[in-house]
């Protein structure tokens, strides 16, 4: 709420850079890749303490989680013991990674424009709902066209949903955090309405059975699977779409005028406006592009492996929120988002369906993901802590502990 909610008071001379992108820049200068790695390590360590306090061995628990994610297969590709389940687990981890890359990019792109897009979940939902509608309608369309229409519509839906927040920010200065939170919950209830008993997207065969789930999408709308069994949630080509999205993200930001403007607004909107950049236009544009990433995630999930959706899925879904942790841990860069998405994708699948462990119960481990997610966001937000630790490292003996903190702020 640092910028437009408080337009009247002049900035105080000693405050650290106030835009999110400004803070990000500060982080970049303070410690490079070591800081996010340290953040993740600390978060996992505290998560381990929680596991320990509940009477389980944290090292064995983490080992089982990594095995559950299928990552042991990379280390021992020809091991007979892992050859049965590990490849399957790995495809499932990469399915989650695909979604997380895109929901992460949705947060990261807005961040680079100085906007905090908490609405990834809502934009993901809108993409998913629209893809479900397209997939179950137009049954006679040919396959490439049906897929393209479905994905395009999902991206547009996400962009439009985020665009509402962008337009409100640009025209009346409504804070994007508040508007995107509200839009998340509106999307949540729209989903509950669409798939409920008697809802417009509830499957015809589910209606007499009172099952609040949509019909399966048509075969022509399903994405081709390149690894694994298509009947058992194989890895679909959306994975490559997500990789391409990472490249698009990087190129858009670093190699186009649009990206230059977005980053300029992110660093300092006043200076950008002084330089002739239309700040309002860029707010709308950045939000719409962010929303398109999240909508794409929803579209790929629906056409790639979910095929149908229900009220309980709407209530349980949190992958859009996880995108916040992915973007923050990945420092809002393409490579960082990819790595963070892989980490959280492994954690997400490894703690739930993939986990076969006598050390820790899967229903318990699933919540470990949420705790680690919270800790990562908490620590990444506390840049001063990180900078203080970083700078104090060299001179901790020479100075009283508080001095580096004050210095870092000036």
């Amino acid at each position: 709420m640092s910028e437009s909610l408080a337009p009247t008071t002049p900035p105080e001379p000693d405050t650290p850079p106030t835009t999110v992108a400004g803070r990000l820049d500060l982080l970049h200068r303070a410690g490079g890749i070591a800081v996010p790695v340290a953040t993740a390590v600390i978060a996992f360590a505290i998560g381990g303490l929680v596991v320990l306090s509940s009477g389980h061995n944290p090292f064995l628990a983490y080992r089982d989680i990594l095995n559950g994610a299928g990552l042991n297969w990379i280390a021992h590709p020809w091991d007979v013991n892992t050859a049965n389940t590990a490849p399957y687990n790995l495809t499932q981890t990469l399915l989650q990674t695909t979604t997380l890359i895109l929901t992460g990019l949705a947060v990261a792109f807005a961040f680079r424009c100085g906007l905090f897009n908490i609405g990834g979940q809502g934009q993901y939902f809108m993409g998913l709902f629209v893809a479900s509608w397209v997939g179950t309608s137009f049954v006679n369309m040919n396959r490439p066209l049906h897929i393209l229409v479905g994905i395009g519509a999902a991206m547009l839906a996400g962009a439009a949903w985020a665009g509402i927040a962008g337009v409100l920010k640009a025209t009346v200065g409504a804070h994007e955090v508040i508007t995107t939170i509200m839009l998340n919950w509106i999307a949540y209830w729209i989903g509950s309405y669409l798939f409920q008993q008697g809802g417009p997207l509830q499957g015809a065969e589910n209606k007499p059975l009172d099952i609040p789930i949509s019909a399966d999408i048509a075969k022509s709308a399903k994405l081709p699977v390149f690894w694994g069994d298509p009947e058992l949630q194989g890895l679909h080509i959306g994975f490559f779409v997500a990789i391409a999205a990472l490249i698009v993200f990087w190129a858009l930001l670093n190699r186009t005028t649009l990206g230059y403007e977005v980053r300029a607004v992110g660093y300092n909107p006043d200076a950008a406006a002084y330089g002739g950049i239309k700040v309002r236009t860029n707010y709308v544009r950045a939000m719409a592009i962010s929303g398109a990433f999240a909508g794409l995630a929803g579209g790929l999930d629906m056409l790639g492996y979910l095929f149908h959706y229900g009220v309980s899925d709407v209530q349980a879904s949190g992958i859009g929120f996880l995108g916040i942790a992915v973007a923050l841990l990945g420092r809002n860069t393409a490579v960082g988002v990819a790595l963070a998405a892989l980490l959280f994708g492994a954690l997400l699948f490894g703690t739930t369906h993939g986990l076969q462990s006598n050390v820790i119960d899967p229903s318990l481990a699933g919540h470990l993901t949420e705790i680690i997610q919270g800790l990562v966001v908490l620590f990444v937000g506390a840049d001063l802590l990180i900078i203080a630790v970083w700078r104090a490292g060299g001179r901790i003996r020479k100075r009283p502990p508080k001095a580096p903190v004050a210095e870092a702020a000036s």
Partner: protein, 399 residues
């Protein structure tokens, strides 16, 4: 500080009196749709329009136009009542949806929101954004019922729940105040943490389902005898203790915030911390106090939900109520009575949403989205006319 992201000329359309006038008009339309020539069959439209009118009224009233605003509220609620009277197909139908018990259930749904919104007011008035209300509420909900189970008394449960919310708020306060983390990022983190901690605890302590059903619950206050079935008795006769506590809290917090030195100091920290510091106010201390208090109040709301109302717990039981509370706070313009009014209307729309399905109307689900839509509209009009505390969201650096 991007001041040029300015306000359009739209500001003059959202003057409080103008909003109140729109509210009046909507309230009248709510009645018109059910009489010839339109003659809507279902009461959904007049209920929707009437509630919108009431919202416009609260909006206007909490921004200066008291008389016109509350007038619009009255017209809107009359619009709802008359609209329903005109569309009723039978008296039985009517009784199922709109009875005195609707008022009681409105108060039930409004109470957690009121606690959390008043808590949020303290935090934000002191200059710390609190997106984490949802998480603090969830902590109160889970640890409250755990405490009631372990200590065997609802008082113990309430106290433990409130402490757990206060502890989570302390984390938010430490990161937001001392470490100067982005307050929104920190609030988001706190929400995730609460989800993880309560989920983990629920599986570890109760295996994810079996909370004892016979825990000690917060008692009801019986003002009338059970045999009495008058309107007053049904609406107010058997409300939970916490509902009355919430109403008292609104009055007390108004008094504290606007009539005592403590309130003045809290507001000074939120408006201009440097000036507050200069005259000797301990900005950090007051911000810590306010944030922790907000966590405790939000947790009390959560504890009411489980220990008072449901008597049980299921995963993520708060389900976004903390965010509705945040919406009520914004809608009520960071004022106790405004926030309470908004919480009541949000409670009313929830209560109606649960009753409309007797008309087999699938669209009733969409009623649950009403608080968020309303807030979206309010935020779009609010900024520029009446603003939140000036220094909210900005870390303060001592010199």
């Amino acid at each position: 500080m991007s001041t040029y992201v300015g306000q359009l000329d739209a500001a003059r359309f959202v003057r409080p009196k103008a909003v109140a006038a729109y509210g009046f008009a909507l309230g009248v339309v709510a009645f018109i749709v059910v009489i010839p020539p339109i003659t809507a069959r279902s009461p959904v439209w007049s209920v929707l329009l009437g509630i919108l009118a009431a919202f416009a009224g609260v909006f206007a009233a909490s921004r200066g136009a008291q008389r016109a605003g509350w007038g619009a509220v009255v017209v809107g609620l009359f619009g709802v009542a008359l609209g329903v009277l005109a569309t009723r197909s039978s008296t039985a139908d009517l009784n199922q949806v709109f009875t005195a018990s609707l008022i009681a259930s409105m108060l039930v749904f409004a109470t957690p929101l009121t606690f959390a919104a008043i808590g949020g007011m303290f935090s934000e008035r002191s200059g710390v954004v609190n997106i984490g209300l949802e998480g603090m509420m969830l902590m109160g909900a889970f640890w409250g019922i755990w405490g009631a189970d372990k200590t065997g008394s609802w008082v113990g449960g309430l106290v433990i729940g409130i402490i757990s919310g206060g502890l989570l708020a302390l984390v938010h306060a430490f990161f937001a105040i001392h470490l100067r983390a982005d307050q929104i990022v920190s609030g988001v983190a706190v929400n995730f943490l609460a989800l993880g901690i309560t989920g983990y605890g629920f599986v570890q302590l109760y295996h994810g389902n079996n909370v004892p059903s016979n825990i000690s619950q917060i008692p009801n206050v019986n003002l009338t005898k059970n045999s009495n079935h008058g309107f007053f008795s049904e609406a107010f006769g058997h409300l939970n203790l916490m509902i009355w506590a919430a109403m008292a809290l609104v009055v007390v917090s108004y008094f504290v915030m606007f009539r005592t030195p403590l309130g003045l100091r809290i507001r000074a920290c939120g408006e201009h911390p440097r000036a507050a510091d200069t005259v000797g106010i301990n900005v950090y201390l007051l911000r810590y106090f306010s944030v922790v208090l907000s966590g405790m109040l939000a947790a009390a709301g959560g504890a009411y939900l489980t220990v008072g109302f449901l008597g049980t717990y299921n995963e993520n039981v708060t389900a976004g109520r903390g965010f509705i509370a945040l919406a009520a706070l914004i809608f009520g313009n960071w004022k106790p009575f405004g926030a309470f009014g908004a919480a009541l209307l949000f409670g009313l729309s929830t209560a109606i949403a649960f009753r409309l399905p007797v008309y087999s109307d699938t669209a009733a689900t969409l009623f649950q989205a009403l608080p968020y839509v309303i807030t979206l509209i309010a935020v779009a009009g609010v900024i520029g006319r009446s603003t939140p505390p000036a220094a909210v969201g900005r870390p303060y650096v001592k010199q």
